[in-house]
Amino acid sequence: MLMSNLETVPGYRITKHLGLVSGNTIRAKHVGRDIMAGLKNIVGGEIKGYTELLSEARNEAIARMVQAAEKLGANAVVNVRLSTSAVMAAAAELFAYGTAVVVEVEPDAEAASQNPETV
């Protein structure tokens, strides 16, 4: 599955639009990580536990979006957007959305590189 956060996939031509697809997941942090994070709030800096937690969750949201796109018969998702929001005191929602499309390799790659936006 090709993914891009542009309106197109450079080097490819969109032959069919299949509509909006999205994937989300809500993750709560667990107590052990919270204690570590509390300590980090004293010394500052990166909270690795949270970074991992959120990036794992984001990958899952993306995977769900890809699954939805596959179900529609797409081979690419364009204009992918990601967002994070804290929905409760101890939980965050990770959300990924984009447009499922069918693409094929651009025969005239030279023209594509000139202006990938209008392909």
């Binding site: 090709l2 993914m3 891009s4 956060n5 542009l6 309106e7 996939v9 450079p10 080097g11 994070a37 980090k40 709030n41 004293i42 010394v43 500052g44 800096g45 990166e46 909270i47 949270y50 970074t51 959120l54 990036s55 984001r58 992918v80 957007r81 990601l82 967002s83 994070t84 929001s85 804290a86 005191a89 101890a90 965050a92 790659a109 030279e110 594509a112 590189s113 000139q114 202006n115 990938p116 936006e117």
Partner: protein, 153 residues
């Protein structure tokens, strides 16, 4: 013994402020040094333009992502809450977000380079609060993402 309680609380607070100041500064200096070093390394060009520069041909694309959750130290959080009384520029938070953003960008750049990308188009940066329980001591998540382009040559 009742009268000891507030004194104990203030003492703990003071210790945490001093600890935060000392360790926070060391960690910040170390982080900025590591950022500078990584920023100097060769890697893909980054842009928030949406089209490839003329003369570049895309062979493959890959979505590149970098994220980091970063927290303020106790001393800075304390300073920021004091600053709230008078308002104005919160320099400590500025440096925190700057560090987070640079770190996220470097991580995105790292994934882009690992994938063999020449350039990353349409780079987006997003910031969100992930812990909102306490006033100033929350942590922020910064993500950077864009479309990495692997060129023909």
């Amino acid at each position: 013994m009742e009268w000891l309680n507030p004194i104990l609380q203030i003492a703990i607070h003071l210790i945490l402020v001093i600890l935060g100041f000392a360790l926070g500064r060391v960690r910040e200096t170390r982080h900025i040094r590591s950022l500078r070093q990584r920023e100097r390394q060769p890697g893909p060009a980054l842009t928030n333009l949406r089209r490839l520069p003329d003369g570049m041909r895309a062979r493959r694309t890959v979505l590149c992502l970098g994220s980091v959750v970063i927290a303020n130290d106790y001393y800075k959080a304390f300073g920021a809450s004091l600053k709230h009384l008078v308002g104005g520029r919160l320099r400590t938070l500025e440096t925190l977000l700057d560090r987070g953003r640079r770190e996220a960008i470097q991580r995105m750049r790292h994934t882009a380079r690992a994938a063999g990308a020449e350039i990353v188009l349409n780079v987006r940066l997003e910031t969100s609060m992930v812990t909102g329980r306490e006033k100033a001591s929350g942590a922020v998540e910064v993500i950077a993402y864009g479309t990495g382009i692997i060129t023909d040559d």
